[in-house]
């Protein structure tokens, strides 16, 4: 019997229950799409790895690559150095592959996609239509009223359901598709770059991802091309007990530019779910990539039940001179976040920036930060991290700034600020600073404080209630990071800040 024959269909969850839960929750995306799914059997074996590869119609070299990763994974241990505490994960009690039945035959165009799936994304506010997205942000009086185009790749559990604006992008020479399609259609690019920034055996979760990643996005921007629109991937975990392991590969060839957005949500469930992603970005000479994330996986309920375990490896390699990368992240979701988007500044005069807001409330735990590895001359990096902790949550900034002996005349500036709301939460800062040459300058500053009483009183005297005042002050605290986001994300992020902190005062 082959693994394929063992696929099963799971019963849908009672819709009433889902709706009832939804009513009482502040998490807007906690509902579930009732759709017929196809699962690979639970657990992780070489057969499952082969099955995933087969489902994606991959060539043999890719299957071998995955199997090699699987062997390495067996030898690796789960890291325990982060300040997060969660029950042991049974890696054999997970589904590693789940796709809607209707995706068995890959739709040729968006018109052929199951309406239920389209409706799901519509409901999430990400219509999979080729339309303008209207800009509307704070300070809108100064913003142009015209719409902006954003191309979307939508990933549902293990598979990509569709990518918009592909034709228009193709005209510009930009490749934007699911990674499974790229493996089939652009093997030479995938072979060259996959695993070149995050090696297969980089860490426990990256190795796991290398073995079982099911889908994700692929971007290639040819030399000299400024991508005509923003690219976006929207990840949705829907199925229960299913891990999502997406893989994103972005290549910005010489002198090109792209802004990439990533969003994520998941239904509200009692049991925790695993998400282990890998993002690799290659930036050649004079190219620039902006990568923005609004991470809003289900954080668990106010008693700490359920929620996503989010273990993510993201790394950008500035290979060419004057290459630039900017990571911006707004982390409001997940029960556990373990994530360090990093920059390898290899090219001379290359630049890396990291802007982060991490909000933890209730029982959430986040251990997040960045690594800035300065290898090239006159490389620059900037880190702005704003951590906000409320409830009984723990929020840690962990980062590394490393100036290698050859990285002459380089600069780093780091600012880490933490805000505590209530006396039962924690905020921690764990920076590593390694300076191995004297012409480089490294500056690190960190502060921890609570929401200022004077500011609170001032706002309340002007008529705001406590929650409004906290949301306003926290948004101000995080302003520098919010400003780094593309406009349509900035708006969403601002609202998320307020929603994430609901119930944190009084």
């Amino acid at each position: 019997m082959t693994a394929l024959d063992q696929t099963q269909v799971k019963d849908g969850v009672d819709q009433e229950t889902v709706d009832a839960v939804r009513e009482v929750s502040t998490y807007k995306y906690g509902w579930e799409t009732e759709i017929e799914m196809e699962y690979a059997p639970k657990g992780l074996t070489p057969d499952i790895v082969r099955l995933i590869s087969e489902k994606n119609g991959e060539p043999q070299w890719m299957t071998d690559w995955r199997l090699a990763a699987y062997d390495r994974w067996l030898q690796k241990e789960e890291p325990d150095w982060a300040m997060v505490d969660y029950p042991e994960i049974d890696f054999q009690d997970q589904y590693y592959y789940a796709r809607p039945k209707s995706m068995e035959v890959k739709p040729k165009s968006l018109d052929e996609v199951d309406p239920k799936l389209l409706a799901t994304y519509e409901k999430l506010g990400i219509p999979l239509k080729e339309q303008m997205i209207l800009a509307g942000v704070e300070g809108a009086e100064d913003a142009p009223a015209e719409g902006r185009k954003v191309a979307v790749d939508a990933v549902f559990d293990s598979v990509s359901v569709g990518t918009t604006f592909q034709k228009e992008l193709k005209k510009a020479g930009v490749i934007f598709c699911s990674i499974s399609e790229a493996i089939r259609e652009h093997p030479e690019l995938v072979k060259k770059y996959l695993g070149s920034v995050v090696p297969v055996s980089d860490n426990f979760y990256a190795t796991l991802n290398s073995a079982v990643f099911s889908d994700g996005s692929f971007v290639y921007i040819p030399p000299g091309v400024r991508c005509p629109m923003e690219l976006s991937t929207y990840f949705r975990i829907n199925a229960e007990n299913t891990g999502q392991f997406e893989r994103t590969l972005i290549i910005a060839d010489k002198g090109s530019y792209v802004s990439y957005l990533e969003g994520c949500t998941a239904p509200q469930r009692d049991t925790s779910q695993l998400h282990a992603a890998v993002v690799e970005i290659i930036i050649e000479e004079d190219a620039e990539v902006k990568y923005s994330t609004v991470q809003n996986w289900f954080p668990g309920d106010e008693n700490g039940k359920g929620g996503i375990y989010n273990f993510v490896t993201k790394r950008a390699d500035c290979r060419g001179d004057r290459a630039k990368v900017m990571w911006t992240q707004v982390e409001t979701g997940s029960a556990v976040t373990w994530k360090y988007p990093s920059c390898i500044l290899r090219g001379d005069d290359s630049q890396g920036e990291f802007y982060s807001i991490a909000i933890t409330n209730n029982h959430q735990q986040a251990d997040t930060g960045t690594k800035m590895i300065h290898l090239g001359k006159r490389t620059k990096s900037r880190i702005v991290s704003k951590g906000i902790s409320a409830g009984v949550a723990q929020n840690t900034y962990r980062g590394l700034v490393s100036m290698h002996p050859k990285a002459k005349d380089s600069r780093n500036y780091t600012q880490c600020d933490s805000l505590l709301i209530g006396d039962k939460c924690g905020a921690h800062t764990v920076p590593y600073i390694e300076v191995k040459n004297n012409s480089s300058r490294v500056e690190h500053e960190a502060t921890t404080s609570k929401v200022d009483d004077e500011q609170m009183f001032y706002c309340r005297q002007r008529g705001m209630d406590e929650e409004e005042a906290v949301a306003l002050i926290v948004n101000g605290f995080a302003k520098e990071v919010l400003q780094a986001l593309p406009m349509e994300f900035a708006m969403e992020a601002q609202q998320l800040v307020a929603i994430s902190l609901e119930g944190s005062v009084g």
């Binding site: 150095w81 100036m403 002996p405 933490s418 505590l420 709301i421 209530g422 006396d423 039962k424 939460c425 924690g426 905020a427 921690h428 800062t429 764990v430 920076p431 590593y432 600073i433 390694e434 300076v435 191995k436 040459n437 004297n438 012409s439 480089s440 300058r441 490294v442 500056e443 690190h444 500053e445 960190a446 502060t447 921890t448 404080s449 609570k450």
Partner: protein
Amino acid sequence: MALPQTKVDATEARIAQYDLPASGWSLSARKSALARLRDMGLPSRRDEYWKYTRPDTLVQADVPPAALFETDERPVFSDVDRLLIRFVDGVFDAEGSDDLALEGVVIERLAEAGTDLHWAQSLYGQLENNGQTPVQRPLAALNTAFASDGLLIHVTKTPSKPISISYEHRSETSDAILHHVVKVDSGAEVTILENGPAAARFNKCMEVDIADGATLHHVRTQGRDHERRAVTHIFARLGTESVFKSFTMTANGVMTRNECVIELTGDDAAAHVAGACVGDGDFHHDDTVFVTHDAVNCESRQVFKKVLRNGATGVFQGKILVKAGAQKTDGYQISQSLLLDEDSQFLAKPELEIYADDVACSHGSTSGAIDEEALFYLRSRGVPTDQAVNLLTLAFLAEAVEEIEDATLAEEITARIEAWLIRHRD
């Protein structure tokens, strides 16, 4: 979790060199320290807490020999009116020491403290043991188990002059372990001075208990013998409204690891730890500080400055831990290095771990070369480059030296740093 065999072997090889005393009030504390040492094992380079400093030479059974340093310089603090106590290669030097009598203070030697009940029994190895969590400090446990001597200083009333402990290094292969216990009673104020290289390899531990309203000033210099190695620990416990101020100047030494573990257990207490170091060549200097706020309205300051040249390495690991309920904490930490040439390096891990909301904690860390604009400004006013560099270097170190409250002592330290800079000009 079982220790790796290599660690067990290294630990046992070191333990085999020493014997526990046959009797004495400290014996039970020594035995439990030995037990915890065996549990932890001596540090190896793979331990996170030793990420930036290789512990090998501090751990190994054989003492790496250290040449004696010839100098015509007068020992530091020579002009201070003080009670002098001298150790040579870790052995008490009665002839070189003053009579151990000082009004308001009882000073005894650990080696002579006998078998009867002793006040130090409630402290010896106890503060060290408290300081083993959350981070292990096996070399301190080794010290508690096998210290050959040390001073037990009980301050009941403010004495008329500082207690000055001077360490001399005369043997190229000496391996000294000393353990001091200092207890300052309520309301008393005392200054303890330490100076000198002590031995080829020196392991020193000082446990400090500062009662409500008491004050301890601690100023030390670590001696200029370049090949010496030292690992030192201070474990300080502070009561309500007490004050602890510790300053260390280090010039030279191929291996120095100074750990300072402070627990603020009473409200309104203040702890300041500061260090200024100047290093050349294969100099390796590590300041590892852990301050725990476990009471309301306490203040802590960590100020560490390092001037490094010719491939010297400076390490700083500092942590402020604010426990739940330790509201109104004011925690400050700054670690800075001035790298005078290409090959020197600075490795830092400044941490905050905070579980109370009404706090103001901050840390800063910088590393860089001398400010070219400032240098040019001074030169344009006629100051020669060498002198200008020294001026700017002294200015850089000033924030740490200013932590010494006594102006005369601060001046002497500044003068010593200046002399070092002049001598170590290229």
